[in-house]
Symmetry: C2
């Protein structure tokens, strides 16, 4: 396909009135799942891809090769579009700050907001200052800091690298100070948090436009497996409407306080007293929102594009009383096609989303969703499909 031709720099009013082109930095599955909605909205969405075999690079009409931490590559993408946005959080803040200062291309979310999803120490400091509920946390600069925090926290700590972590990477549970030694030497500073005795994990997603218009999705329940999002029920079972609204309000307040543009996911711990504590922030479509592709009037990928392109936001209303999402994490089957056929045959209502990635154990390679009335029944069906896909059609879940 032809590359996007050069275009004149947009005027501020062009951008304010809604962009027609949004460059996506990173070409993973989140970028991939933006492509369909972008086609329908008529948005041009070139992607910056490190490798042509990446999930989005293989199916995008416009691919610019380059790394997210290569300023020239980021600039080349930015020069093609009115807005840049992200498939992940790993673009160096300094590159984005320079682009934003130059003003030719809008950066959404902007670096001043994005840093709270990039740097967990910055996030904890800011949320605490704003009075948003967090686990107890400590800034760790020395071995003595670790020992002191361990004592204060009652003998166990969750240690996190401030930058670069994702899923289970960059997170470690320790009960002896020396366990943090290597990471401390490597990163200089660490974040330590109390191990929250949570009853379950929730996720609250909102979308916000540059001017402040914002909408909230139903708060969902998520289950992790080995530190990776695995199962989501939307809305979170047993969460009454007052609690739904309170938590949506928290997520909307964080989006406003931090000046987020685009989708914001606030991952939360729910505690036995019904309170919530903020675990992580993500400023992009998020695994806990994949249900919305099939289960809401406006899916999160369309919504993110609308928000960063400064188009009016869409309804977040669910299309059914309950939606469930189950991730496909790489397992025994190296070829997903036979299991996919078996899963589609077993459940005509199943919505299958494959990421075009090679299978490696535990790797996110797709997800399935189902809509209906009964979360337990939907989860049983979704997990049956998962087993057919992951273990292959000859697995015990097979016919």
């Amino acid at each position: 396909m032809p590359e996007t031709p050069p275009r004149p720099a947009p005027s501020a009013s062009d951008v304010d009135a809604g962009a027609r082109s949004v460059g996506i930095i990173g070409a993973g599955q989140l970028a991939r799942m933006m492509l369909g909605p972008a086609i329908e909205l008529g948005l041009t969405t070139p992607v910056l891809a490190t490798d042509p075999a990446e999930s989005a690079a293989d199916v995008a009409a416009r691919v610019r090769p380059g790394r997210h931490d290569d300023e020239q590559a980021v600039r080349a993408l930015a020069a093609e579009v009115e807005v840049i946005t992200f498939d992940h959080e790993h673009v160096p803040t300094a590159i984005l700050e320079r682009l934003e200062q130059e003003g030719a291309t809008a950066v959404r979310p902007g670096p001043a907001a994005l840093v709270h999803a990039q740097d967990k120490l910055v996030m904890r400091e800011r949320l605490t200052a704003l009075g948003h509920p967090c686990p107890r946390w400590w800034r760790i600069g020395t071995a003595d800091d670790v020992a002191a925090a361990l004592t204060e926290a009652g003998g166990r700590l969750v240690i996190k690298t401030p930058r670069g972590g994702y899923d289970a990477h960059g997170v470690m549970l320790i009960d002896r100070a020396e366990q943090a030694q290597d990471w401390l030497a490597q990163h200089g500073e660490l974040l330590a948090e109390e191990l929250v005795p949570f009853t379950r994990e929730l996720s609250a997603q909102v979308a916000r436009r540059p001017g402040g218009e914002a909408v909230a999705y139903p708060v969902v329940q998520s289950v992790q497996k080995d530190g990776v999002c695995y199962e989501v029920v939307a809305p979170a079972p047993g969460l009454d409407s007052a609690a739904q609204q309170r938590i949506q309000g928290l997520a909307l307040a964080i989006a406003e306080d931090l000046g987020v543009t685009g989708m914001l996911a606030v991952e939360l711990f729910e505690t036995a007293d019904g309170e919530v504590l903020v675990n992580e922030l993500a400023m992009r479509p998020h695994n806990t929102g994949h249900w919305s592709m099939d289960g809401a009037v406006t899916g999160q990928f369309e919504q993110h594009l609308r928000a960063v392109a400064d188009l009016p936001l869409g309804s977040t209303a669910p299309l059914a009383p309950v939606s469930v999402m189950v991730n496909l994490l790489g397992g025994a089957a190296e070829d997903l096609a036979p299991g996919a056929r078996a899963a589609l045959a077993a459940d005509p209502a199943l919505k299958l989303h494959l990421y075009g990635k090679s299978v490696r154990p535990g790797r996110k390679i797709g997800h399935v969703t189902l809509l209906g009335d009964d979360a337990e029944e939907l989860l049983a069906r979704a997990h049956r499909a998962e087993r057919l896909l992951i273990d292959g059609p000859a697995s015990p879940a097979g016919p």
Copy 2:
């Protein structure tokens, strides 16, 4: 983007087990709207495009330049994929017959079925032989045939070119034999039909796999404007469940009788006595099924790909009691973006689908859909969005 690399010819069992690659001949909006579902299903879908500015060519990762009536171009696409399918009906039957005989690439729908959507005389002859309800019709080879048919039909006839027509093209209402003279000289044979005094137009869509598995969508009501599909309500208001099932049964029978693979649309006239007559057949996703992209568990574009790839078919269940679709036909606004923003702002539940085509009067450039409970209310909202998009935000529909 890289071209699809050559692949070994598939064995029959590969194809039977479900294809991974489907080449699409033609790059209009129907091909375009297959791309999003193809990404989610993990199917590779190169498109054959006459012009790189075509609707699907501009957004597809894999585009092969070439015309649908150029056998070498069609063969080059076929050599890349396991299955070929269609954006339109205009591929010469002989090319498809040769490809099918050679057997390296499956042609779906096959030429023996597709000819009934390509040639209206063949369609009328076959449906009549099968006993399916048609308007009275005449095969016209001479001026005398026209005069005789005019007399039998009561003075007015609908004249159709057997091949090459679409929307309002190739259809003419006459009341004098000489009005058919030019077309008769040009085409050799024409189809003449009585002018059916229909009460409304309906459309019945089904999908069928090569082995015969088939599913039916709710029968919908469609309204034409200047011979172009303009407005659809799903399901058709006031059609009781017995009539729904009877008409679905007719469409399923036609699909089976003709050996259709993929989506089949049966456009129907409903008459005052509640009977239906077959007007046209289309063997591909169809304008009267666009509502299903947002309004059914499995949209017609996903369903067509599943059917032609021989994957299990998906549920056709609607997601709401009523869905409506209104086409965007080119009007005063040359730039759709300002109207799009106004329409999205006015109605957060609106689903907007733009085709990336330049605006010409009456040209299909997009459509909108809405889900809800009340057809009248939904149509009023959809038409408001249509006017904002077509006339621009300064139109009387604006704020």
